[in-house]
């Protein structure tokens, strides 16, 4: 299975500090969410786990798919995805600003989110811009609104990163 993995600068995993080698299989002791195994994400999970570097990773052995990630017994980092760059993130931020304005800008009780998202984008804090946009949608439409907004964000990213038609994971 081909999946994606966010890493800090120089290929270091943000939560474990593990420095990933390129094109080398990394074996683990087993597959257990957040404890053991190679953790990666699908295109639909991208906005949840945004980091500095985005890599393509091949997963093998036992692979377990969860709501927001995939965990596998072994993995091999294939290549860094160069399209994940500042230009893309800035455009993503503008997308979040626009969506928030469209979704809640006309609601006085939620319009403050428009200001918040705009500020996060201006500060270059794109992960929280995505979160705040989804949170605004949740406050307007309930929990489904959060999930839907995250999927829309994922679809937006996937189309630009992989030229992928992402309508498959975006609800009507």
């Amino acid at each position: 299975m081909i999946a994606y993995k966010f890493l800090d600068t120089d290929g270091v995993a943000p939560f474990t500090g593990f420095r990933w080698p390129v094109d080398e299989w990394v074996e683990t002791g087993g597959v257990e969410l957040c404890r053991d195994g190679v953790h990666a994400c699908r295109a639909r999970d991208l906005p949840i786990w945004m980091g500095r570097e985005l890599w393509e990773i091949e997963l093998d052995g036992q692979v377990v798919e969860r709501d927001r990630k995939v965990v596998a017994a072994r993995g091999r980092l294939l290549r860094r995805i160069p399209e994940w760059n500042e230009e893309l993130l800035e455009a993503f931020g503008r997308f979040c600003s626009r969506r928030t304005r469209e979704q809640v800008g006309f609601l006085p009780v939620l319009a403050g989110y428009v200001v918040d998202v705009d500020r996060f984008v201006a500060q270059g804090r794109f992960p929280i811009a995505g979160f705040a946009a989804a949170r605004a949608a949740e406050l307007r439409d309930g929990p489904d609104g959060y999930e839907r907004e995250r999927l829309l964000q994922a679809a937006w990213l996937a189309e630009r990163l992989f030229r992928e038609e992402s309508s498959a994971f975006v609800p009507e």
């Binding site: 786990w49 945004m50 927001r68 990630k69 992960p127 995505g130």
Partner: protein, 82 residues
Amino acid sequence: MRLERELACKEVVELVTAYLDDALEPTDRERFEEHLVFCDGCDGYLEQMRLTIQATGRLDTGRLPAGLEERLLEAFRGWRAP
């Protein structure tokens, strides 16, 4: 320990020790890390805690003045005493 889907920063701060001790349930650990992705403040706090633990973990008890170690241990033992 089981958490609601969305963590507030206050909850994250309270759970930092459990996170570093690997004492959170996997799903809660996932929520915790999800919060860290977008919250620079909590991410920074976690890093400070890691550095503090690294630094204090190297303290040499042999350098404590005489009697201080016993007084500290006594204080810790009585931590929950009224």
